[in-house]
């Protein structure tokens, strides 16, 4: 973690205690998760007790205190996606990536998560990869999907 990266966030927003949510969101965007030193810096800069920052980070599912992979795979497991076969997709992904939901692969490329509904039930089953929705997924499409993400990852991290 580079502490200098935090300065623009804290300089732009970090003065009033009520801005803590925006600051946490920016930190999450910057690092992909909420590193402890960053939260300590935010707590000191905004004058919010550290325990409050910790509580917020724990309360919202959008925040993660654990490092996440470069690519976030979110499998929708809402009612509509569930009946259309989301559990099977999830099982396939878990087997292929060898991780459980909420975990990150050893090479830090993928984090797998589930969500309870995305409000896009007509597109179900839906998998969201880095914010892009892939609709009407079935296990046969997973290999292609993972391969596109992997090739993008190779551009991102050439020597990985």
């Amino acid at each position: 973690m580079d502490a200098k990266q935090l300065d623009p966030i804290l300089n732009n927003r970090g003065s009033e205690p009520y801005e803590i949510m925006e600051v946490l969101q920016d930190i999450q965007d910057l690092y992909g998760f909420l590193p402890e030193p960053a939260l300590r810096a935010a707590s000191a800069s905004l004058g919010v007790p550290l325990i409050e920052v910790f509580r917020l980070a724990n309360f919202y599912k959008a925040f993660s205190l654990k490092p996440r992979g470069r690519h976030l795979l979110t499998v929708c497991n809402g009612t509509a996606c569930h009946v259309k076969g989301a559990p099977r997709l999830l099982d396939e992904l878990m087997a292929r990536l060898n991780i459980a939901p909420g975990e990150t692969t050893a090479d830090e490329a993928f984090t797998l998560e589930t969500v309870n509904c995305l409000g896009a039930c007509a597109l179900g089953p839906v998998i969201v990869v880095d914010g892009v929705y892939y609709e009407h997924m079935d296990p046969s499409k997973l290999d292609g999907l993972l391969e596109t993400v992997r090739s993008r990852d190779r551009e991102l991290v050439p020597h990985a």
Binding site: P49, L50, I51, E52, V53, F54, N58
Partner: protein, 234 residues
């Protein structure tokens, strides 16, 4: 000087400062409302729900926690109706199932007349009453502890599970914790209702609504003892 208001608790008219909470008003007046999470002088949280009472408004009755209920003029409260007693017994039964290894909770069970526990015993070490958190936050201005997480994963925690520099090691969090008083026979090996307070329970059945500064109140750190300036743990 705050404006005084009159509230009616179990038919007794009580004069109390406006905005004070109904639980403390009733305890001051000698009416027994069992309570667990309440600490005098600290913001009520309404976490344990043991102090449940019935408030009668426009002929309607509804159950609510008395510690978070602000006294308003002309308020009518029933603290020992059939409905309240049933709800209170059930709440204490759930607390007992969660953490039987505490004299505070065993005494509460004896006070409200819980004789059996229909729920599976979990034998936890915390009932999330939030006493420690609020005392740390408000009396000591330390803000070292917090209730973290949601639903089943809610717990009392330190930030990043490390003791912060703000913690003065005053140990007040431990002193107010209902789990730190072991049941009279010692720590229970098998989670159960200890039910060794027969002498107290008969009195409970005869006068359920009057505070007699019972020994049970010491066990559950009843706010009455603290309001009188007595050490509830002596």
């Amino acid at each position: 000087m705050p404006r005084m208001v009159t509230i009616t608790v179990d038919g007794a008219r009580i004069l109390t400062p406006e905005g004070s909470n109904v639980l403390e008003a009733a305890l001051e007046a000698g009416i027994c409302i069992p309570n667990l999470c309440h600490v005098p002088g600290v913001t009520p949280l309404g976490a344990c729900r043991v102090c449940v009472v019935e408030i009668i408004e426009n002929g309607r009755r509804r159950l609510t926690a008395s510690c978070t209920l602000e006294a308003r003029d002309g308020m009518v409260i029933e603290a020992h109706s059939e409905n309240v007693m049933r709800a209170r017994r059930n709440i204490v039964e759930l607390l007992l199932a969660e953490a039987p290894n505490s004299r505070a909770i065993q005494d509460l069970a004896a006070r409200v007349g819980v004789t059996e526990c229909r729920y599976p015993m979990r034998n936890n070490t915390c009932v999330l009453c939030g006493r420690c958190v609020r005392v740390c936050d408000e009396i000591w201005q330390s803000k070292s502890l917090g209730l973290v997480g949601r639903g089943p994963s809610r717990r009392v925690a330190l930030p990043f599970d490390v003791r912060p520099d703000l913690c003065k090691r005053c140990n007040n969090c431990i002193q107010v914790c209902p789990m730190t008083i072991t049941p009279c026979p010692g720590p229970l090996t098998e989670p159960a209702i200890c039910a060794r307070c027969e002498s107290q329970t008969s009195m409970v059945e005869n006068i359920p609504d009057t505070c007699v500064m019972c020994e049970l109140g010491r066990g559950f750190q009843c706010a009455r003892w603290q309001l009188k300036g007595l050490d509830a743990r002596a």
